[in-house]
Amino acid sequence: MSGKNIKAGVIVFPGTNCDMDTKRACEFFGWETEFMWHDETSLDKYDVVFLPGGFSYGDYIRAGRLARFSPVLMALNGYVAKKRGFLVGICNGFQILCEAKLLPGILSVNDNTKFICEETRLSFEGKEITLPIAHGEGRYIADENTLQEIKSKKMDFLKYTNNPNGSIEDIAGLWDKENNIIGMMPHPERAIFAETGNTNGRSFFEMLESYILSLRGEALASTRQSK
């Protein structure tokens, strides 16, 4: 699958722990992948930037709360505004995106008040898949207006079929298609390799790849037009 020339960046905060898993998943698809420390500010070389899972800054105050003040988050605002590429937050990354208001709503403590680690059934783009979840604060909450917006913009691309944590409307992930921002609690990067018994995560990365390539096509077309 090489030769597609896709470049991915994986942001590492103190306390991030899914950075290596995310990099290995990207590399499985032949994407050139780099880590960047949380003080990085030049992001334009990346077709996709990941905020991986973990406990950034120890989850003090609330999961994702402190990471939004880091230099790389400031730079991400610019990356999104100019539609340079995709921004994907997984687990703690989704929490950071919500705390930073890059996605609507918030993630709160699971309704059983405990950390939950298991394989969860999900509906993804109309088909059923199974992905691992591992979080203590994964219960998605949003007010009525926000939910209306989510529905009208069709942002709820990933839903639990057996809601494990009490998320409203079974929401497991959101995709802001205008700004190319994706946030999700399940871990597709942990379901790539056959040795781990689950390869369902590949469908997410394959979808992402096709969107990255089509975004590149659009950018190319608009450059030609302006010439």
């Binding site: 306390g15 989850d59 691992p132 990067e189 790539i192 056959a194």
Partner: protein, 724 residues
């Protein structure tokens, strides 16, 4: 130097008259006050292994890598899998959440000090009865502590065991095993060489955990809660950062050796480095970065503040180490250097405040223990169980007993998939599987103990604990390779305990020799008793195994229409089933003779199972342990979502037949009965066809059960009790 040391001081610090006289003799002088503090920690049971060292030398170590370092390992290809199990029993009894959390922190640092990246955690937990409110509180706190800490540092908790028995009410056992991976040529030693710089990297040193080592070396009583300041507080966020920083620092060629700060903090880490490297060390305690003002030299030396590492570095590498610490925003300080003097010297504002030969500090006296068989052994051996309850009632009681029931409530709280290496998840088979993509295969990890059997027969019980761990690995498709052990006992100064310890250590040594699995590392925890109760002698065995391909893994799940076969002995009315779980659960009984293991048979089953597997003849494979033959069949049926119709009872005592525990047994399922029989016959192993897998049915002999009801009891028992 201050010179006077009053008897009140050394006694208050836990040193005996004999030990103090020994110190005077070896030093050729009185130790000063600070030095007395140092000895009180280094010559505590926890650091000095005084009652155990003599006996631990019986363990076979051939084939182990890095034995005698912070953790040992087994070589697989170009890599070494480093592993060790350690107890954090006493702190967990007093403060379960922090006690368990810092237990993980401590064992992770041992792995890290070798230069290995931690890739998996396992735990063996023992509590009093789950219906007892105090035990419930400890259980809940320990699980939350492990969940909080393990999940945060990004190391998956992939397997474990949880047991409940009245004997653990006052002294719960919290044993944590950590596993790491390192390239063979990147292994670091704790041995220091002279003329290098000594640097502390990590958290500020505070007053927490002072005398943790001597705290762990005494019995718990009602005043133990006053020991709460002796329990350290962990910060998994700083630990995660420290893991990354340490691995980056150890990648520098100028870094010569590394030690973690464990029991007795800076004192034991620095003196062991000097001792192992046969060099001297000068430490300037006023240069250590501190969390609070006014700390005394002895407090700085004994502090067990978490998340600290000690490095010995060549002069040219110092700047690089400090820069890495700064990148991760971790404090660090240069506190001294190694020397050619052969002396362990401490300074406070340039004044020498202690000067001791490291070998005297490190080599605490070795005690010889009682080996005479205590009376209770014979007494219990001759007890017989002659009660019976209806089988339907017995089956229901067994499936919802928390020792047997599903542990999902526990492992659902542990992140067991982070790291993307988990090839076999909790409850899928007898051992967890961690994919070693660096080498292409999968390591198997198991942890097991059986206090009841060791109590009845320390030698045979301990042997069977090792073989039981082997069976867990073999039934999952792994070849057993190496052992780590955590030896949990009562007060070794008491004759009964001394005998239990000595005989079970010999049992472990014998079994490991027979199984050709060296003991690469280990830990001893004594004094697990209160004035009212003593724990069953509980040697916890942790093992690793390997298979070179994920395709060779076996699952503990049967499929519909397969034939179920018992490999091994049938239970007869004469079988020795002493120590079986059902006797304790149904009748609160413990007694009788423990079944003896047979190494040749165990080896033969290993060969047979692997041959069946390589011929793709095995559907599911389960070793027969707690819950007996019924337990194994039930597990296979439940995991495979099928059912069973056949026969399980081959003697008059029906409960014994169903639930009795004897050694060397597996249950397998196969879709190809004739081919399987051919191999079993050619291997000349004993086997018996038990029945067939039939959807949604549980029928054996004259009994039948509603499977859904049994599943419900099994799945929800612990959760219902804990959420009550």
């Amino acid at each position: 130097m201050q010179t006077e040391t009053k008897p009140e001081l050394y006694k208050a610090l836990g040193l005996t008259d004999f030990e103090y006289a020994e110190i005077q003799k070896r030093l050729g002088r009185e130790p000063n006050k600070l030095e007395t503090y140092l000895f009180s920690a280094m010559w505590s049971e926890h650091c000095g292994y005084m009652h155990s060292r003599k006996y631990l030398s019986k363990f076979p170590i051939g084939g182990a890598v890095s034995h005698g370092e912070n953790a040992g390992g087994i070589q697989i290809g170009e890599h070494v899998i480093v592993f060790k199990v350690e107890s954090h029993n006493h702190p967990s009894a007093v403060e379960p959440f922090q006690g368990a959390a810092t237990g993980i922190g401590g064992i992770i640092r041992d792995i890290l000090a070798i230069g290995a990246r931690p890739i998996a955690l396992l735990d063996s937990l023992k509590f009093g009865k789950i219906t007892d409110n105090f035990s419930k509180h400890i259980f809940d706190g320990v699980v939350r502590g492990i969940s909080h800490y393990g999940n945060c540092i990004g190391v998956p908790t992939v397997a474990g065991e949880v047991g409940f028995d009245e004997s653990y009410t006052d002294s719960p056992l919290v044993n944590v095993m950590a596993v790491g991976i390192v390239k063979k040529d990147k292994i670091r030693s704790a041995k220091a060489e002279p003329n290098k710089v000594v640097i502390v990297v990590g958290s500020h040193t505070g007053r927490d955990g002072i005398h943790g080592a001597s705290f762990a070396s005494k019995e718990l009583n009602e005043n133990s809660k006053e020991d709460r300041p002796s329990v350290q507080v962990g910060d998994p966020f700083i630990k995660k950062v420290l893991i990354e920083a340490t691995l980056e620092i150890l990648d520098l060629k100028e870094v010569q050796s590394c030690q973690d700060f464990g029991a007795a903090g800076l004192l034991s880490s620095s003196s062991e480095m000097a001792y192992k490297g046969e060099c001297g060390i000068d430490l300037h305690l006023d240069r250590v970065h501190l969390r609070e003002d006014g700390m005394q030299p002895w407090e700085i030396m004994l502090s067990e503040s978490q998340e600290r590492m000690l490095f010995v570095v060549e002069e040219e590498g110092v700047e690089k180490v400090l820069n890495i610490a700064e990148k991760y925003e971790i404090p660090s300080s240069i506190i001294g250097n190694t020397t050619e003097t052969g002396c362990f010297k401490l300074f406070w504002n340039a004044e020498e405040v202690a000067n001791l030969p490291p070998e005297i500090l490190a080599e605490a006296p070795k005690y010889t223990l009682n080996e005479e068989e205590p009376e209770y052994i014979n007494e219990y051996r001759n007890l017989t169980l002659d009660k019976n309850i209806p089988i339907n009632e017995a089956v229901e009681k067994m499936v919802c007993d928390p020792n047997f029931a599903s542990k999902k409530w526990v492992y659902r709280q542990y992140d067991h998939t982070v790291g993307t290496r988990t090839a076999v998840k909790p409850a899928q088979s007898g051992a967890a599987g961690i994919w070693i993509h660096e080498e292409g295969g999968v390591i198997g990890l198991a942890i097991d103990s059986n206090g009841r059997q060791v109590f009845l027969n320390p030698h045979e019980g301990a042997k069977n604990s090792v073989w039981e761990c082997c069976r867990n690995l073999i039934s999952s498709g792994f070849k057993p390779l190496g052992v780590t052990d955590c030896l949990n006992y009562g007060n070794p100064e008491k004759d009964e305990v001394a005998y239990q310890f000595v005989k079970s250590v010999e049992g472990i040594a014998d079994a490991c020799r027979e199984a050709k699995a060296p003991v690469v590392s280990g830990n001893v925890s004594f004094y697990n008793e209160s004035p009212d109760r003593r724990v069953f002698p509980t040697p916890t065995i942790g093992m690793i195994g390997y298979t070179n391909s994920a395709d060779k893994l076996l699952k503990a799940a049967f499929s519909n229409k397969e034939t179920v076969i018992l490999l091994g002995k049938e239970i007869t009315d004469d079988s020795n089933t002493g120590g079986s779980l059902y006797q304790r659960v149904l009748y609160d009984f413990i007694g009788g003779e423990v079944d003896k293991t047979n190494a040749d048979l165990e080896k033969k089953f290993e060969e047979t199972i692997f041959e069946l597997r390589d011929n793709k003849l095995i559907g599911g494979c389960i070793d027969v342990s707690e819950g007996g033959l019924f337990g194994a069949v039930f597990e296979g049926v439940k995991n495979g979502n099928t059912g069973f119709k056949g026969s399980l009872i081959f003697c008059k005592d029906e409960e014994k037949a169903l639930f009795g525990e004897i050694t060397g047994r597996y249950v397998i399922s196969t879709a190809e009965l004739e081919k399987t029989k051919k191999i079993l016959q050619s291997k000349q192993v004993q086997y018996k066809i038990l029945g067939k897998c039939v959807n949604n049915i549980m029928e054996f002999d004259k009994y039948s059960f509603d499977l859904r009801k049994l599943y419900d009891l099994y799945d929800k028992s612990i959760e219902l009790e804990m959420e009550r």
